[in-house]
Symmetry: C2
Subunit: 489 residues, 2 copies
């Protein structure tokens, strides 16, 4: 497989696919719409998981595991929910295959009495379980998260961004009051937003979804929205206030301190392997992947530059203490002195893989007591004294982390436009894309018309939005605030 | 729910279920044969995962993720494999539901061209993928592991021990030589055995399976076998040498250094949430769960003993530095000063949950400068000077870990019997159970007859088995070594 990446200016979509495939992040599979996450891609996902998992646990959440399958009848219990998911679900109808001559066929004697749905999300099976766990206010709050695979039968799929099976976490909490549930929803939104900004170096806008874009079964859906380099928005995480909808659907009540019986309040929230797609698109360039140091499985790669084995032996010796000191400083280092590939090949390979810092050392460096430091994001190189290398690299990792954030924020700000009429709206969307701040009359009809005519959707109504009187760009009706429109992944 | 555990002497099976349910480890679900793993049970599983994952990574393995679904046709490609799994698999036939009046039904317009099987194990989908990843000896070895859920449609299920869906890890490695693949199989067997013995305090016998008990598609299956308190054996992990079976089925070849083309050699290996069942059964008693300290999510629980709030305030103050020091020593501690429950209730609750050490402190302890230390395994109590508590607890955790192992080993040794004729064989099995070392003529026929007549199976042919001439207890034919028979989970 050629390692050359299609330039993003030429074909953005192919550029993305090239990076995913050629940097060894994921691969297509034999199963329609399902992907294989390759070891390097999975190592990044594991870092995301472990950081998010720590954040959930630090705020009192525990992990648990609920069944992969959901009885069909559970879906019907929450009306909006079934509308949202029944159209795109994998249905298990049988539990055995049998031989028929040379062929392997479904055994019709092994038909299930009730079909099982492969979970597209777990609200129904979890709330059916919570019914047995919650009796009194003493059992609340219940703060549970699950790391799992889910299946939504997507017709058009893209590696990481939209796949029929994906990995995610889904939090499902139960509370005794509305206020506590809303506070939980917002606490999680903050965790998602902090994770995106501090760890992924990805600026996001926090907001609420319109009724049309709300999670099937939610009273309010909060989200974080990011902006990709092609000017399209990407929803990176959602946190839902479910009200008492699922508690009512599954009859989950509790005895209050005062002795009355009430329905339980609920939230659910999730981020998925889609974040991998966002991470890739947010920072990468035409040389390949660019990773923020905090999420890079390898932060520093060291490449020896030599022609003869004698030179390599000397470099090996000089590198050992440097590698050890970097590791002691908590830095994830790889020293690649594999003789199968040339230094040039390795430089290209580690650029493709987005390793934040590359150190190069040749015979002349040893003589000079220096080492060449190349940063992946700007591709700048510098010779640094070996005695200062640990301090320099440590500082540089921090610099890269914040430089990536600043660059992405500058891009987002530069691609956020306020428009005040529909002509301008369409022009900005067509020519620049990006986030478009515009007045909207608050109706589903207008939202759908605009979507039909421009493909742009309302990404969110930003939190802490400035109230500003205006007129809907489409209907001319009064509006109290601007919302964010964009074309989206 | 009553917290009383059925004594194991009265009803072993109910004793086990009581512990699983009442200690909050798992719960039944609305889906036949599928369980819910509750937060406390899942926290133990997470510890197992993180330790095993570290062991796999330290030996050069990486994690990846492959699709949940396997096309039906993949199963037919390896003859033995399809025999083993087609009879008990969940089959996805449709990808949509639709409304029919008030009812939700399978949409017959959304029938899959080819049925998909929910993976019971992933050899086929993985080897189909490896075909694209392996061209030359430079691509080998490929050392990949996956943490995943799998489904095998079991008719008789038991929480953790046998469920239709379970969680596991499955390693799938590819090698250029038979020797390297066999060495990998044995390396993993050692990891499993070390994990069982050092972390779970569970002695195991390493061996190979007979042809009859071998994994569907393997050339050789290695296993670790443990002995439970009811005298039944439990297979705790398997490591398979797959030869070139899957490489041939999926046509995976590689270019050797010498320029020839050969089929790749394979291994696969796994342990599952079944280990949770083994852990529970191995050590627990009629008061509830007993956990080895290394796997306990909470190693030390501190319970204040008081009548008045004033006393509690003083105890809170005295406990803070102790708790902090224990944490600094790397010990997982919980201080439970929740006022909703009495000290007596808490004592019973934490015994039920198997917390290795309980510290109790009351007003008199403060006066005396002591603290009461109760160990869960022996239920012995001792008063220890506060100044010595950190050292004492640290030592005691180690002691409990090895005491549990010794106790289990003594039990295993005491319940391993050599028998030399079939009458004695049946008598020992009936009266004592346990491992029975007996001569066997090496034929499937004899193995099956014995199973039919006694329900005992050959658990394994121990590795490094003493060669010892003898006669098969069933057929009287010559035998070169004893094998281990037992009734098994």
């Amino acid at each position: 497989m050629s390692k050359v990446i299609t330039p993003k200016e030429q074909d953005y979509s192919q550029w993305y696919n090239d990076i995913v495939l050629k940097a060894g992040l994921a691969d297509y599979s034999a199963v329609r719409g399902c992907m294989v996450i390759k070891p390097y891609g999975f190592a990044i996902w594991e870092r995301m998981q472990s950081i998010l998992d720590g954040m959930f646990k630090a705020t009192g959440h525990s992990n648990a595991y609920f069944p992969l399958f959901i009885p069909k009848s559970f879906f019907s219990k929450e009306a909006a929910h079934v509308e949202g998911f029944a159209k795109e679900c994998a249905v298990v109808t049988h539990y055995r295959l049998k031989k028929k001559g040379d062929e392997l066929v479904v055994d019709e004697d092994a038909r299930l009495d009730e079909e099982l749905i492969v979970r597209p999300t777990s609200e129904t099976i979890i709330w059916n379980t919570y019914k047995g766990w919650i009796q009194s206010y003493r059992d609340l709050p219940l703060l549970i998260n699950q790391w799992a695979n889910v299946v939504r039968w997507e017709m058009r799929t893209r590696l990481f961004l939209r796949t029929s099976e994906f990995l995610w976490q889904e939090g499902h909490t139960a509370h005794s009051t509305r206020e506590e549930a809303v506070a939980e929803t917002l606490k999680i939104l903050d965790i998602y937003s902090n994770f995106a900004q501090e760890w992924m170096s990805m600026p996001v806008i926090k907001g609420t979804k319109t009724e049309n874009e709300r999670f099937a079964g939610a009273v309010e859906t909060y989200c974080i929205e990011a902006l990709m380099q092609d000017g399209k928005a990407l929803q990176a995480g959602t946190s839902h206030f479910l009200g008492q909808n699922f508690a009512k659907a599954f009859d989950v009540t509790f005895l209050t301190k005062e002795g009355t019986t009430e329905h339980v309040w609920a939230t659910s929230w999730g981020v998925s392997t889609r974040l991998m797609g966002a991470l890739i698109m947010q920072h990468s360039d035409n040389e390949g992947l660019v990773l923020p140091p905090l999420l890079a499985p390898i932060q520093v790669v060291i490449v020896p530059i030599y022609r003869e084995f004698e030179q390599l032996a000397k470099i090996n010796e000089a590198i050992q203490p440097i590698k050890k000191d970097l590791e002691s400083a908590g830095i994830r280092v790889k020293y690649d002195n594999d003789d199968k590939h040339s230094p040039g090949w390795k430089f290209a390979e580690y650029e493709l893989k987005g390793i934040p810092i590359r150190l190069g050392m040749g015979p002349r460096d040893i003589e000079n007591g220096t080492i060449e430091v190349a940063r992946r994001d700007t591709r700048q190189k510098q010779n640094i004294k070996i005695s200062q290398i640990i301090e320099y690299v440590t500082g540089l990792l921090n610099d890269i982390q914040s430089a990536l954030y600043k660059k992405a924020l500058t891009f987002q700000t530069g691609n956020t436009n306020r428009v005040d009429n529909y002509t301008e709206f369409k022009e900005v969307l067509d020519k620049k894309g990006g986030f478009v701040l515009a007045h909207w009359d608050g109706t589903i009809q207008t939202e759908e018309k605009i979507k039909e005519e421009t493909k742009a959707t309302i990404r969110c109504i930003p939190l802490n939005n400035l109230k500003e009187e205006g007129k809907c760009i489409y209907s001319g009706k009064p509006s109290a605030q601007r919302v964010i429109f964009a074309k989206a992944y």
